[in-house]
Amino acid sequence: MTTLIAVLYIISFSLFIYGLMGLTGPRTAVRGNWIAATGMGLAVVATLLQPGMGNWWLIALGVVLGTVIGVPAARKVKMTAMPQMVALFNGVGGGAVALIAWVEFRTTEGFQHEPLYVAIASLFAAIIGSVSFWGSNVAFGKLQELLPGKPITIGKLQQPLNAVVLLAAVVCAIVIAAGGSSEWLIIGVLVAAALIGVMVVLPIGGADMPVVISLLNALTGLSAAAMGLALDNTALIVAGMIVGASGSILTNLMAKAMNRSIPAIVAGGFGGGSAAAVASGGGEDRPVRSTSAGDAAIQMAYASRVMVVPGYGMAVAQAQHAVREMADLLESKGIEVLYAIHPVAGRMPGHMNVLLAEADVAYESLKEMDESNSQFPQTDVALVIGANDVTNPAAQSDPNSPIYGMPILHVNASRSVIVLKRSMSSGFAGIDNALFYDPKTAMLFGDAKSSVAGIVEELKAL
């Protein structure tokens, strides 16, 4: 029986790994997720097959409770509230670890007859689990706007206070490992860890939350692995460690994609450094959504029509060749690519034509303004490359604007808009563009040529 269970465990963690591999590519992600879920089902079945299992009713109670709470929560949450949902799920996972460690402490009278490594692993699991539970809950609260999203600090005291609490947790843990068996010790560990979780996450700004959640996720994985060591359960060890490792890499990737460093974020939590600042240029404090070449690539790769809207910035960057290459790639995937040419895009009559002809773009795919405007509503992605004034809705809506009365390209009639430019600064007319603050719009900052080259690369990798 144990052999069978062990083999099932091996199969199940193999499924986790295989599923995870799938999750890293857009085409295999959906299937990957269900493969991992299958692995999980197998692991649960294998565990229930263990000889001498009892307390079936209580087990059923727990599972039913979890299902009843978890399924509707996952089903009903709005797409925009996904991140906090993940935070919550992560938190309860950490909570479970902490609780199990606590019970282990209680049933073994402070790990008295267990090998030292079991005690250490359990205590590690308890601390990290508790940190993760409380940290995740604070993250959830912030994202759900139950707590203020802005960093909350208690000033200079933050850092020493964090240090003291951490020390308390470690000391309690050492006393237990050394033989202490008073229940207050484990409660001390759990509470101190809880305080750390709360105090580290509270001072972190909302923009950094996804990275923090990912970090807590990796930590929960590690705590699960530690719990696996303590319980001598291969499935726990492997699954936990994989999550710990891949979660760390992922956290790093996410931080990089957002141009943040993990130490800086965590230091922020510890009271050092300043908290996140969202990229902004024009002194505007309206929120701007910025995106990456990878996302832009995926968005376009799954579109059926893309409209390229070139402007002076494409000319300055001399990005026309790169744009053509991108369009070729998209077309080879069966996506229709058109170009919306505004009459005064650029700085001379026919500026865009000259450049696109140089890059050998077919004349037929160049659309005049009127035709373009009737096409935008059937367009999945409008890719604005260094155009600004010619897309500015102020020309239609604001009689005081210097460009009032100029016909424009209604790019925001399309399903989504990606704007490639170097900063939030204005174009020829020197005025702000409301398009950039539209919820449909994502900004890809950087020189147009290198941004497009980046997209090309990502498209090839898909």
Binding site: G19, T24, G70, F89, G93, A96, V103, R106, M241
Partner: protein, 102 residues
């Protein structure tokens, strides 16, 4: 025992490390969510400890909560991930367009 487990631990770490190399940004959040669901495996810990009979009411209560927590983590995690991945599902493109139109 410990050392064999350590070997497993290290190898699992390498697997986790090697699997995540280049992930498009759009998949960061679903991937986080997916790994999050996988560490719901802690549910197994609850099952084992409770299944092998933890005495005392408090222990039982704590473990039932732990199992419930673990279950939420697992079930909710996979479901949420699946929803996030909606955009990558076999696309019934026309329908999606229609939905927008409605």
């Amino acid at each position: 025992m410990l050392v064999e487990s350590l070997a497993v631990l290290v190898l699992a770490g390498f697997v986790g490390f090697a699997v995540i190399s280049k992930v498009p940004n759009t998949l960061h959040t679903p991937l986080m969510s997916g790994t999050n669901a996988i560490h719901g495996i802690v549910l197994l810990g609850g099952l084992i400890v409770l299944g092998h009979g933890a005495d005392g009411v408090l222990n039982k209560i704590l473990l039932v909560i732990a199992i419930a927590f673990g279950t939420i983590n697992v079930v909710g995690g996979f479901l949420v991930t699946d929803r996030m991945l909606g955009m990558f599902k076999e696309k019934p493109k026309q329908d999606a367009a229609k939905e927008d139109g409605k």
